[in-house]
Structures are given as C-alpha cells and as structure tokens.
C-alpha cells in the first residue's frame, strides 16, 4: 500500500468517524442531560431514540435557509464553514493509535493551538455579518473570551512539552508511556487546559457568546437551517477535539492494557471526557461575563505560570 493511499484512507476514515461522533453527540447530549435531570430524553425514534439523529439531520437539511436582508452575505456564508474547517484540521495531528494519524507533524501541538485560535474568526465574522446588535455582542464576547483563554491554554501545555521534550503529539503519548500519564505531574496544567478548553468551545458553563437569556442566541441568532447546523456540528466537533487533546496530552492517548486495541482505548477515554462536558452542562450555571474574564486572568493565568515555573524547576533539578 502506498503511503499516499494510506494517508487518504486514514483521512477518510477519521473524517467519517468524527462526523459520526459529532452527529451522535446530539443524541448523547440530549439523552444524558435528560437522565441527569430525571427525564427520559429523545426515546421515540428508533430503538432508544437512536435514530433521532437522522430525524434531526433530515429536519435541519429541509429547514428554510433564511438569510436576513441586512446581513453581509458573503461573510455570513463563510463564517460557519470556518469553524468546521479549523476543528477538522486540528484533528489531523492527533494520533489515535500508533501510526493512525493523518499527519505526524513535529510541531503538532503548535498546529493545534494555531487552528483553535483561527476558529474564533468563525464566531466573530458570523456575529458581525449578521448585522444584529445581539449577534455582534455575542461575537465580541467570543473574541475576548477566546483570546484570553488562548493564552493560558498555550501556557498550560508548556509543562507537557517540557516533560515530553517535544511538540510532536506522537512523541508526547510515547513519553507518557515512558514516564507516566502526564495528568499526575501536570495536574495543574490539566486543570487549566480543561477549563480553557471549555471556554474555547464556548460550552456551558462558559457559553457567554450565546447566552440565550441575555443575547437571544448570541452570534448565531440570525442563522438558520444548515448554516446554523454547521455551528452546531462545529461545537460538537470542538468537544470531541478538546476531549481527544486531553486524552492525548494528559491521559496517555492510546495507551492502555493490551486486552483492547489502542484505538479503542483512545476512543473510550475520549468518551469519558465528552460525558464530563455534558455533565458540566447539566450541573453548572453560567457565570457573569466579568466573572469569566477575571477568573481567567486573575486565577488561571497565575496558576498556569506557576505550573510552568514549577515544572521547569523540577525538570531542571532532576536532570
């Protein structure tokens, strides 16, 4: 098998699997939220309501795709695609199992950070082009929130890089095989990264760019039909991405006892974190916007700096 063909096959498989996961997350999230709220959730379409996803997809495809007259049409069109593209691009560097990754990049981590920063354009442009004050407010919040949390997301990962001595995600996973899963030495880093990840995907409780109680639906107020669907899928892909990154960086990636193949270990660990995302949504209320910002700058930033300094010191001393 030629390397090219192999890459293409991996790419296609990864894409398919991701899209399936993202789509099924719709069902997972609704069912899990319901269970945690003592309800049943969608249980009518197909066994356990599993075909609900199909129903939702059919519905969203056939919805009227309405563009407001006052919107900036080209930008309005492009915005939702950006989020999908950037998130999917990030997945390219994730090693699902030894040898199963689209590309083995030696600056994989930086690529991930770069891509997730680009994702903010989707939200900003979407809100701006809607030409609606609530959308604009939502996208401004998103911009400020993402730029702020970007900072300590990067910083929190530096501990991992110091420990692994590489930006290559494959190397990081293998380093965890050698040393230990990084969430033990990097408990602070994990903590900061996890929170920043929630903020990056603007999931509850940090979904202030949407904040339906204040801003209708924030940056995507004016979106409908499949364009809205793209934001929606983008959000689920984002959850998947952050969960994969947590697994890769802190929970040993594909590593695990050998009675299961590595890919399955990876997916299982990822699923746990996805469920934690949903659990957070079920449990926590949304903070005020100023609380979010001061939490980031006044608490998480010092914490990640502290983590970096301590990790550096420890590594230096142990050398």
């Amino acid at each position: 098998m030629s390397p090219l063909l192999q890459t293409i096959i991996i790419t296609v498989v990864v894409l398919l699997v991701l899209m399936t996961i993202a789509a099924n997350l719709i069902w997972v999230e609704r069912r899990m939220l319901a269970l945690w709220q003592d309800r049943l959730g969608p249980n009518r379409v197909g066994p356990l309501g599993l075909v609900q996803v199909v129903a939702d997809m059919v519905k969203i495809f056939f919805k009227e795709d309405w563009i407001p007259k006052f919107a900036d049409r080209p930008v309005f069109f492009i915005a939702p695609t950006i989020v999908i593209i950037t998130v999917l691009m990030s997945f390219a560097v994730i090693p699902f199992a030894p040898g199963i990754s689209v590309v083995n990049l030696n600056v994989g981590l930086l690529f991930f950070l770069a891509m997730s920063s680009l994702g903010v354009y989707s939200v900003v442009l979407g809100g701006w082009s809607s030409n609606n004050k609530y959308s604009l407010l939502g996208s401004l919040r998103a911009a400020a929130q993402m730029i702020s949390y970007e900072v300590f997301m990067g910083l929190s990962l530096m501990g991992v890089v110091i420990l692994a001595g590489s930006f290559n995600l494959n190397d990081i996973v293998e380093a965890q095989g050698r040393i230990t899963w990084f969430f033990i030495p990097q408990i602070l880093g994990f903590f900061v990264f996890f929170l920043a990840g929630i903020a990056e995907t603007h999931r509850l409780p940090f979904d202030l760019p949407e904040a339906e109680s204040e801003l209708i639906s924030g940056f995507h107020s004016e979106y409908s039909g499949m364009k809205f669907g793209m934001f929606f899928v983008g959000e689920y892909l984002g959850i998947t991405l952050i969960s994969s990154m947590i697994v890769t960086l802190f929970f040993g990636g594909w590593l695990g006892p050998s009675f299961l193949p590595p890919v399955v270990w990876f997916l299982l660990k990822m699923a746990v974190f996805i469920l934690i995302f949903v659990l957070l949504r079920a449990a926590l209320p949304r903070p005020r916007y100023d609380q979010l910002m001061s939490y980031g700058w006044k608490f998480l930033l010092p914490l990640s700096l502290l983590n970096l300094v301590v990790t550096g010191l420890v590594v230096l001393l142990l050398k």
Partner: protein, 172 residues
C-alpha cells in the same frame, strides 16, 4: 467555591440513578382536575336552553381576540348568539373568557387533545362548542335572575322581584 462546584457536579451525576418523572404521554395519561383550562365549551342552563346571551364580554376579554360572535334575539326578546366562533389556532387557554362570562355559559374543560393536521379545522363554530348540559355550574340560570322579560317569564317573575308597578295606584 471550587468544592461547591464539584459537589454540584457530583450530585448531578448521582441523578443518573434516579427514576425519571416523565409520563410517557400517548400511552400513559394524567388525570386532570375539573378546573383544568382545556377545550372551551358553551353550556346550557338547567332548562336545557342556551346559556349564552351574546353579551360579547368573552370576546372583549380575550387577549388574542380569537372569539367572535353576533347577537340576535328570538321573538320573545331572549338574546342568543347567531353565530359563535372560536379560533383555537389562536386560543391560549387563559380562561379569561370564562372569568368574564356573566352567565356561566362559556366554560373551560379538562379536555386538551385538540390537535389537527389542518389549521382550518381548529376554527370551532357554535355547533362544535355547544354541549347538552350545564357544565361545572349546575343550577345557574341567568334569565331567572335578570330583570328582562323573555318567553315564559314576564316582568316581576324573576328571583327577588316585586310584581310590576301598578301605575294607576297612588297609594304610598
């Protein structure tokens, strides 16, 4: 703060093991109280005649303006609606019409399964609304209380009324 958040998350997580409160509607049904505000009906008084006197108060009380009617009267002077129409596709079941009704004619009932595939079918005319009974109020009969003479009840024959004044009498 962090601990309290974690506790919240933990408690929420524990709900995974609780029984859901959902009633699975078409299979299971809740028994609704008699004063439930569901389907609107027009009732009859104990004599079996239409209670509605077409006073228009339900129509004016309706916040979504979904009641429309026209008053008419029979040859004895008894008022009743010529037509009475409720557009249930607009109705919000607030019950203001029942509150406004001075004759207990319009009443809300615990029936709620009124969905239609065709919206036009949600427009109910008098023949769809009128029932053959007094509804929640069994004894009230407006014309027995009011001073207006109608067929079968002349002046002074209503409850709490003196016989008509004899104009030829100058006695104190």
């Amino acid at each position: 703060m962090l601990l309290s958040n974690l506790r919240t998350i933990w408690l929420t997580f524990l709900h995974l093991f609780r029984k859901a409160v959902t009633i699975e509607y078409p299979e299971e049904k809740e028994k609704l109280p008699a004063r439930w505000r569901g389907r609107i009906v027009l009732t009859r008084d104990p004599d079996g005649q239409e209670r509605c006197v077409a006073c228009y108060l339900c129509a004016v009380a309706c916040p979504v303006d979904c009641i429309s009617l026209q008053a008419t009267q029979d040859e004895t002077g008894r008022r009743y609606p010529e037509f009475f129409r409720i557009n249930f596709s607009r109705c919000i079941f607030c019950g203001f019409c029942e509150e406004a009704c001075p004759t207990y004619a319009i009443q809300l009932t615990p029936e709620y399964e009124m969905s239609e595939y065709v919206r036009q079918n949600m427009v109910y005319e008098k023949e769809h609304l009128l029932i053959n009974g007094p509804g929640k109020y069994h004894d009230y009969n407006f014309y027995r209380v009011s001073g207006l003479a109608i067929g079968g009840k002349a002046k002074g024959e209503a409850m709490n009324e003196d016989p008509p004044v004899d104009l030829r009498s100058l006695l104190p």
